[in-house]
Symmetry: C2
Subunit: 481 residues, 2 copies
């Protein structure tokens, strides 16, 4: 039985271990390259390495940390590694990590204004900064959630609130008064739309997928036709989701043309800019976002490409009143005597408890500054275009999509091989070999039925040498594939 | 324009600032008492103190940290303070904070097994430990979400999956085949049930609130009658929510009797043990949880009373297959070649992205050990009972509920005053005065229409002297109220 007194870890022990962890992290951030990006763990490795039951007696922190290094670290895939090019590459930057340390120690919970006024107000200040940087009109209010899935869920819940009368009180069952509804998105829209539609009880059949053009962008003319046909069939349009930067190829839907249709039809327009939205900060890229300012809601994830540790997703909404109407609900034990003018964040969402997430975004925006952030984003786009030029210049390689931002879609395509199954096998083998190298980690998708490799740039430490190394690994894997 | 190179903060600068923050946190943890528990901020204080726009150029971290100390800290309500007795008191313990530091720096995202095998497997190991400690049968699988609201939402989504045929594909609109449904809970059930029911499209009218007994526990006989009456009216029972430790008074619903009814009726039983569930680790308290092992799902929040920094909520579920049926959805860009036996956490929820939350729970369980945790929980219950005995012995004070765990419900009740409005005014004034002292922060609720003060013990640093001081403040406020 532990002889330690009750209460917390002794503060001096915390100080000692904290310094040790800061040193470990500083070393890790200085030189993450020795770690294989994609973990080489086999299924069950960690389960087998750890005891089947919790210890009865407390253990020294050193022993726990030793197990962390020996058993946990080898089972990590290193998202904070400059050779991470899979999915969307993300970053826990220095100022962001420091902010999370403070947030963890303070442990404030920002459900009500009074449960930490600064957490609520820093969220307001920081999101106003971000909205300005993205040139969004001041009619947008922002709120921080954990993930884009949750941001989008709230946007669609607000849209449902407008279209399904009394849904909050009466729900959708046993209501012969209600017609079916439709949610429109392109075939390249993120899977979180499906999950939100399922959760909200609309059913996946409510999703009307609009065909995309050759560059994987939604065809606005098809959208208009689809809405008209659905209306003729007695269905009610509930929302349109336009993406600026789709997940597979970062394609850009024609938001302005889609906004015209949504305005004419009176349909909620949600813009998924979870990954690429931050590029609206860069004047030369504003064109890609034209029409976004006319949306009803926009999701942008600082935890993706704004150097902010996971998780922090922002929903900007022009109809926050509708969102509150859908979710505000004050139990007696949460009632306060604070002025009614204060914002209580619990009113804007399904989650009652909220971490102090604004702190890290505030520290990141201040530490790098708007110019510093723009410079980093442009550098990433430049790296992607450099890689794309290598692909374009290589005889046995093929680019499969434009590069509007920092993701390149491509494949190995040896002359004369036209069998799609063989090309898939070859490229999957290349991907496997590169990922096993430990020096780079890429992922894949399918575009127009073609197996497609993706190189996504977004980690703040990625430099040209990392991209060049990935290209060497790909080229060399192709030779033996 | 900043002269810094691109890339991240220099690792040596990170090291320096990290050490500074660890020292700041160690000092804060050693002596949080000087900080007023409830912030004295006025609405708008922080908004006015900060610039209206983000800086164009990056700023030194020292300047950002100075603003944090000067402007943010005074706007914090100190949840990690031993004088925090409001809502449910929570703790960021030393080992939990250290784990969060690592988690922030590594920034792994555990959506797929391969995106960090250790994050997925450590979640499995740690939740198996927790389930064993709570004596749950091995038929329960666990999954970590952010908050109890989200855990409960998933439980009810799974229940809906069973009761509403084809809901995933067809949704609930325009389906004359479907009857209305009902969700049963007591009048003391947490407001997250309402929000989940609204989100799922069932409508608040679907909530059938069952009356409670004199001790605020659900009347199982009334539940049986309500289900029978609803069935006669053509409605279909969807789920019953039983609470072990309600939010207002920590009342314990008769789970065993409720489980009998749910089994007989074939209805999903969800147990809300978000706060008190950890007490199932203590043998002497097992009786309060009898029947919980028969539930279909259970929510317990280590971020509440298990010394784990916010956020970390656990859903234990006996029907994880149903949950996956509701949510599993694999886009091509998330497809892997990993063995089909591995768990991909994205299949069990609405959120695709997941932080590495298991690390902190694992470090907390190991650092304190099962015995150390039980001892701390029992010490908290002992403190609550001590406070309750002071209330019981004081002539002008009245206890308003039993103390099954670590929350005491009470009020000042001067002899001869029976007017409820006056008692509310007096007690609200006492609460206001105590909270303004900065030494303690309590919250209130209503029980049977009576304005009720709550003293919630749960912070790991709370000792008898803090509880005694709260009692002195209350007594002295009562004299002048």
């Amino acid at each position: 039985m532990s002889q330690r007194p009750l209460g917390d870890m002794d503060p001096e022990a915390f100080r000692l271990e904290g310094h040790r962890i800061v040193d470990w992290l500083a070393d890790y951030l200085a030189a993450p390259e020795p770690y294989p990006v994609l973990s080489r763990s086999k299924p069950g490795d960690l389960v087998r390495a750890l005891p089947a039951a919790a210890p009865e007696d407390g253990e020294p922190f050193e022993a726990i940390f030793a197990d962390f290094e020996q058993h946990v670290v080898p089972g990590l895939t290193h998202w904070n590694h400059p050779g991470f090019f899979a999915y969307f590459a993300i970053s826990a930057s220095g100022p962001g990590i420091l902010a999370e340390m403070l947030s963890a120690g303070l442990n404030v919970q920002a459900m009500l204004w009074r449960t930490s006024p600064a957490a609520t107000e820093l969220e307001q200040v920081t999101l106003r900064w971000l909205a300005q940087l993205m040139e969004l009109p001041s009619t947008f209010e922002g709120v921080i959630y954990d993930t884009a899935s949750i941001s989008t869920l709230h946007a669609l819940a607000a849209a449902r609130e407008l279209v399904v009368p009394d849904v909050r009180a009466r729900g959708m069952l046993a209501r012969p008064d209600l017609p079916g509804v439709r949610v429109y998105c392109s075939e390249h829209t993120h899977s979180s739309i499906d999950k939100a539609v399922v959760l909200l009880g609309l059913g996946q059949q409510a999703i009307h997928r609009i065909p995309a053009d050759h560059y994987h962008a939604m065809r606005a003319d098809h959208l208009a036709e689809a809405i008209a046909a659905d209306r003729r069939a007695g269905l009610r349009p509930l929302a349109v989701i336009a993406s600026v930067g789709t997940t597979s190829s970062t394609a850009v839907d024609p938001v302005d043309a889609i906004a015209d249709i949504c305005e004419a039809e009176g349909v909620w327009l949600h813009v998924d800019a979870a990954y690429a939205g931050v590029m609206a900060m860069v004047p030369a890229w504003r064109d890609s976002f034209r029409g976004m300012e006319r949306a009803d809601s926009i999701v942008v994830n600082p935890h993706k490409w704004l150097f902010t540790p996971f998780d922090l997703s922002v929903l900007f909404c022009r109809r926050m009143d509708v969102l509150k109407q859908a979710f505000s609900l004050v139990a007696e034990y949460l009632r306060t005597t604070d002025p009614s003018a204060v914002t209580n964040l619990m009113d804007t969402g399904i989650q009652l408890g909220r971490r102090f997430r604004a702190l890290k975004l505030w520290m990141v925006l201040r530490y790098f500054g708007a110019e510093g952030i723009r410079a980093r984003l442009e550098a990433h786009v430049h790296l992607a275009r450099t890689f794309a030029s290598w692909i374009d210049d290589a005889p046995d390689w093929e680019r499969l999509a434009p590069v509007p931002f920092s993701v390149v879609c491509f494949r190995h395509h040896p002359a004369g091989v036209e069998d799609e199954e063989m090309l898939e096998r070859v490229n999957a083998a290349i991907l496997e070999r590169v990922n096993q190298s430990g020096e780079a980690f890429l992922s894949h998708t399918k575009l127009d039925g073609r197996y497609t490799l993706r190189l996504a740039i977004g980690n703040i430490k990625t430099e040209e040498r990392h991209v060049r190394r990935a290209w060497e690994l790909l080229s060399s894997a192709a030779k033996t594939a």
